[in-house]
């Protein structure tokens, strides 16, 4: 017997929207401060340091040539009257969830994809509202603008991948309505576009595809899957088959992924990341940050009564156009929420996979979570004593602040604890 949902009716063809907030952080700042509404506004990592980078630039600033991820120094040269706002990450998260709520008033099937992009499956809403996809998207767009001051561009299609492509390649370039629907009748409009415009294709993948004679999305869509796999195997080895199929399906708009409203109904992992103020070059310096991140996620795990069996670690270099670093994980023998155990695993993963190149971003995550009610006893170890010690530290931090007590290495030159406590995702809260 298959599960049956009522009163909702399954339809053969879905209607999926991807709503993307234009210049999200900058738009939130403009909405909050009407006096800067018509001015060139950027949100920049650290305005006090001229080397800080632009996190978001409004369309007015972009018209001066200001771009996301360039240095504030360069941006001000292009636009001396630039208004620079400090990031307020907590507020941006709240605004993003406000938009989730607006979308949920149209359909229960809403899935955030990032802080400024959300999928909504409106298949059953169309009949309820008695309108077509473009009319519904227009209504949603106007309502989000009215309630938040944020302009959204909306891609519409029969599945998520095409909705994402409709938004990225067409709706974002549409100066009129910021809406675009891809159907089977107009999907060929996509094929003349360059490969790097397609979701999932970065510089490196595009170079690989160029090497095998694939120049645009149409070439990719028209290449038989088996031929693509065979040619990509020569370049990528054993990972080629899966990756080739992902690319081929995307170019042909084939996707049966559900819009999953339950994507965030349980905690799958607890993690933290930080962007370092400068490149770190030595393992000793990076170990300090790994310990600080391990301590933070273990504290959070204990408070939520979880322990985890998998530790994931990642590092990234400063140049996002030439990505360096890794993201790897290891399984623990015993689930834990003890800092020293998570840190030991994180350090081990880091030492195994770091290639010595400079590091600007570091993250650690504890996954495969289970309840901490069942604590596994291990021989020759004093886990309970360490747990009591860490719980005592948690209590002190609750009473006196997140930096009231810390491990000794956080007093060192490379420590980031104070910085991390003030930030979300490497940017000010």
């Amino acid at each position: 017997m298959s599960a049956i949902l009522r009163p909702f009716v399954r339809r053969d063809k879905r209607t999926v929207l991807l709503a993307d907030c234009q210049s999200f952080y900058a738009s939130v700042e403009k909405a909050a401060n009407p006096s800067i509404r018509n001015k060139p506004v950027v949100v920049a990592g650290d305005p006090k340091r001229r080397s800080g980078i632009i996190l978001a630039a409004c369309p007015t600033a972009k018209a001066y040539g200001v771009t996301t991820a360039e240095s504030l120094r360069d941006a001000v040269k292009k636009c001396p009257e630039l208004v620079v706002a400090l990031p307020r990450m907590r507020h941006y998260i709240d605004m993003s969830i406000h938009i989730t709520r607006i979308l949920e008033s149209y359909t229960e099937l809403v899935e955030p994809f990032s802080i400024d992009e959300q999928f909504a499956d409106v298949t059953n809403s169309l009949a309820r509202f008695g309108c077509n996809p473009i009319e519904l998207a227009t209504h949603i767009q106007m309502r989000i603008l009215q309630e938040t001051g944020i302009y959204t561009r909306i891609g519409i299609a029969e599945n998520k991948i095409l909705a994402k492509i409709a938004c990225d390649i067409f709706a974002k370039k549409d100066p009129e309505g910021g809406l675009h629907e891809i159907t089977r009748d107009n999907i060929s409009d996509l094929w003349s576009h360059e490969l790097n415009k397609m979701f999932g294709i970065g510089t490196r993948t595009m170079m690989h595809l160029h090497k095998i004679g694939i120049r645009n999305i149409g070439d990719l869509a028209a290449t038989p899957l088996e031929t693509l796999k065979r040619k990509m195997r020569v370049l990528l080895g054993r990972n080629a088959d899966i990756w080739s199929e992902v690319l081929w399906r995307t170019a042909n708009g084939i996707d049966d992924s559900p819009v999953n409203p339950d994507a965030f109904d349980t905690q799958k992992g607890i993690g933290r990341q930080t962007t370092l103020p400068v490149d770190y070059h030595t393992a000793e310096d990076i170990h300090v940050v790994l310990l600080e991140l391990s301590a933070l996620i273990c504290e959070r795990s204990r408070k939520k009564h979880y322990q985890g069996a998998v530790v994931s670690v990642g590092v990234q270099g400063a140049d996002f156009d030439k990505p360096t670093g890794f993201s790897r994980q290891m399984k623990l023998d015993v689930p834990t929420n003890l800092t020293r155990e998570v840190y030991a695993a994180a350090k081990q993963v880091f030492e195994k996979h770091w290639n010595g190149l400079p590091v600007r971003k570091v993250w650690v995550q504890l996954g495969s979570l289970i309840s901490d009610e069942a604590v596994q006893l291990t021989l020759f170890d004093d886990r309970h004593r360490h747990l009591v010690l860490e719980q005592t530290m948690d209590g002190i931090r609750d009473a006196y602040g997140p930096t009231a007590v810390f491990f000794g290495s956080s007093a060192s030159r490379s420590a980031q604890l104070t910085n991390i406590a003030r930030k979300i995702g490497g940017h000010l809260k």
Partner: protein, 110 residues
């Protein structure tokens, strides 16, 4: 087949999410929905215990069930066999398709 090519794998693996944003969404999902709250207020302790016992029996026997689940704007009817029980998340999975939070179950039939 790779996880990336199954279910929501493509988007699960490429989602760019701040840990804090993820935490805020999880916290929000775990708050009782106003509609669910209204529906569940009527459940007395005895009825709740009865549902829990019958769910336990259905799980161990693998027998099909029919649940009334609190939702907005209308409650949902979901039918199927319990294929997983997530004690930490306080939820069950029907036919490997739908997660249902225990607190949202209003009624159950076999």
């Amino acid at each position: 087949m790779s996880k990336k090519l199954q279910g929501n794998g493509l988007f699960e693996s490429s989602r760019m999410m701040l840990f804090e944003h993820r935490d805020a969404l999880i916290a929000r999902q775990q708050q009782p929905h106003p509609a669910s709250y209204t529906s569940r207020r009527g459940l007395d302790e005895q009825h709740r215990e009865e549902i829990a016992a019958r769910l336990g029996a259905a799980l161990s026997h693998g027998s099909p069930i029919r649940l009334t689940v609190a939702d907005y704007p209308d409650n949902r009817i979901i039918e199927g066999i319990i294929t997983r029980y997530d004690a930490a998340g306080r939820r069950i999975r029907l036919n490997d398709e739908h997660w249902v939070r225990l607190e949202n179950i209003i009624d159950m039939e076999e």
